[in-house]
Amino acid sequence: MIQLQKISRHYPVGFGKNYILKDIDLTINEGEFVSIMGPSGSGKSTLLHILGLLEEPSEGQYLFEGERVDKMNEKKRTQLHRGSIGFVFQAYHLIDELTVYENIETPLLYKNIPASERKSRVADVLDRFNMVAKKDLFPNQLSGGQQQLVGIARAIVAEPRVILADEPTGNLHSDQAKVIMQLFKHLNEQDKITIVQVTHSDVNATYGNRVIQIRDGHIQP
């Protein structure tokens, strides 16, 4: 599903280059639950950003479902963001001015889904996450764990093929983290959604079925 071939990412430093990622070859198949691990500054977040098309690789090829996406134009990339990729952030990144319901509805608005269908899909997700009672609250009225649940709900409401999660439990304590990780596992197993997460935690990594270790921009064998 996802194929990286000789992907590098570097910044100019003085006259030379500072490589953050170098010659990454990686294949992620449909239905996998991959954890990317490594120390701070090893390049794991950059790798996730490249996977999510938020950042362009400096060198190499990126194939998403067999299609070259590393040189895609803005418009096509937006289509992928709308349809195939869902994001979950460490800092949740909910829109403060919108209620839980409205936050979850936003991606559907961008996909131009008719109102009645939007309503039923948001209702489904709320139901599934047991948040129906909280749908009219604003993000600052929720706990961190609840906010992240909304973040995940928002990521899956558009029915993406892949969810990219950047330290999804980084701001949560362990009980909340456990709930979130179980949810991911469930989504992976029941809904067959491919999940790629960046994490520091060995415990979290055990929920996935594959671990990729990154050190100094290289994938450790």
Binding site: G52, E55, H81, R82, I95
Partner: protein, 798 residues
Amino acid sequence: MLKSYLKIAWRNLRKQKVFAAVNIVGMSTALCAALLLSLTAYREWTYDNFHENGKDIYQLIGIEDTGGQVKTGSSMSKPLAVALQKEVPGVKGITFIAGYNVPVRYGANHYYLGAQMVDKDFLKMFTFPVIKGDKNSALQQLNQVVLTKRASGILFKDTDGVGKTVELNLNGKWQPFIVSAIAADIPDNSGMYFELLTRFENEPEYNTTKNDWSASNFPLFVQLEPGVSKTSFEKNMNVVVNKYYKGKIEDLQKNAGGVKNVFYLKGLPLKDFHLDADSSFYSGLNKFYPWLMIILATLIIGIAAINFINLSIARSFARSGEIGLRKSLGAQNGQLLLQFWAEAFLLCCFALVLSLGLMILLLPYYNQVFGHHIALSVFRNIWVVTGTVAGFFLITLLAGGYPAWKVARLNILQVLKGKLGMGKSSGVRNGLIVVQFMVAVVLISCTSIIWQQLNFIQSAPLGYNSSQVISIPLDNATPSDITTMKNRLAEMGEVRSVSGSMLNLGMGKDGSSGNWTRGFMYKDRHVSTQCLAVDYDYARTLDLKILSGRDFSREYGTDSSAVVINELMAKQLGVTDPVGITFRMSDDEPPVHVIGMVKDYHFESLHKKIDPLVMIMNAPLNYIFVKVETHNPVASLKKITTLWKGINELAESDPSFLDENAQRLYRQEQRFSKIFMSGAVLAVIISCMGLFAIAVLVMAHRKKEIGIRKVLGASVSGIVLLLSKDFLRLVLVAVLIATPAAWYFMHRWLEGFEYHTTIHWWVFGVAGLLAVCIAFLTVSLQSVKAALANPVNSLTRD
């Protein structure tokens, strides 16, 4: 989708109260001011636009070019009108217009009506619709009058007076006239105003001057056949002028220094009547006045829009998370642009609604203070509405569109990581703040120079006693009334001296003004002078300084052929002591001899240079001047007013002191300065509001830095200085750029006055200092608060 945008916009407004308030208050006051100013300009530009033949109607203007001096005059002689109609092709209609205030009697009551004496083409040329009677026959007979609906209401208490007989007081006699038609009331954007029309032949001096080519007394108007161009008409007209004014042209050429075209006529189009100083229906408004209004409106809107842009950009950084997130959820740049623009639009809509409400509230006050006449009914005009709406869209596009565009183009990743700093757009932001304060400083310094000039005019020595002399407009008084009045005045204790004149000094309560220019040959040279008919004791009453000779006096029997001249006239005649010399002002008048010379005094406004002046004794008087010496001038004025109203039953305008009359000449300037001053104050306030809000943002952003600095030992004053420094630097730059600009504008404006104050450098110093102080105070409100805050609070929060 739009609903969602509006929802977010609404919640954002409620959350960010300072910014919403600054934006809405600033925008709505600016919109309100701009609306009022543009409507004023619109009104000035649409004067007289209802005449259906408007594009073919011209007023004739005569131009005398004697080398260095170009004089224009709007008065034409009666035989010229006849000749033009007969000999110039393409003239469809022609009419003189002589305006008088005429007493009209019906039954026992009399009223003053604004009368225009016109030729029979008048109603066909100009679009003043007749609502009763027939427009074609209304002015066929000499004893017909046309009344407006309003005048008919006043006279007959009924709007249908056709066929009734009224009496007009002409030449001091009551004469019967028949009402032939009723015209609709004059629209309020008409430069011409009348309540009564009658034939030009009824003009008091018509019979004595009807064949006199040199007696030019009244403005002449022509309507050309459709398709006849102005240039071809002027060409044909001047052939006729050259034929009939051969003698005058030869005289003028003698000392014109080789100028060929010394005397010719030109046509002034109807659309220029309102704002061209040569026109008889000139409003007294400077031609650039409406443009200044538009410029001022644009400046004020510009300042408010700058606030809007700066605040929107600054605030969008606080919302950078939302922007990045939306992008990662699949929002396109266009959609984000639309979202942010929709927010700006919503805000501007609030502001527009508020400003309209504000305008409706302020309109009566505005009209009163600035002497304008704007009614809300202008909004019935589709063009005004379209213009307002289009202007409004343009403003929202500018104020909301730029920040939206800027925000939409932000890089997702930077936004999500929260790496965007306030510094990112500071180039644009600082530039805009500089522009704002530049405008503010220009307006402050211009205002102070305008104020100085008005002060200068008010305290300038006019050369005559203006504080003790009362002028009484005579309003059709009979000669016996005038004599009675003079005798009664002489009996009053506080009266020191009584005289009279053909023309007022300054502008009296009757609002009329005029001049009489004459040219004649003296020792083979053409001399041109203003002429003024006065009464005995003129110089004594006005305290004019007699440099040689004497004033007109009853003690000498020969004063009817005597003249008193001013210094400039003596200079023109080329003599140092003119007493005793004689000259002829016209071939058919006896020669006059000079009995005295007075020091030059300002008998016209300070806009103009003093002209040469000849005072004569034998023409009718229109004003009595009374010099009083009293501790209670108000009581004396009241006493004299009552006395005069008792003697002349036709008296209409109240007497007034001459210093008051002099002030009245500068009403336009006073209005102008009031508008400018209000604009300047508004501009400064809106700029400061913007600066304040930006300061709030910057302080919030630097909270942590301030906390760290304090922990490291920085003092409060040090921090205030550090925080204010950046802003003060911007304001200083603005002052430096604004000063030469303001100097240039004011230099040009002052050139419009023949007598004007000089521009002092300290004006700019004070204006700059004022701007810096205001800015410092504004920023300090925030920086002191930030500096005093406990660092623990800001440091532990992260």
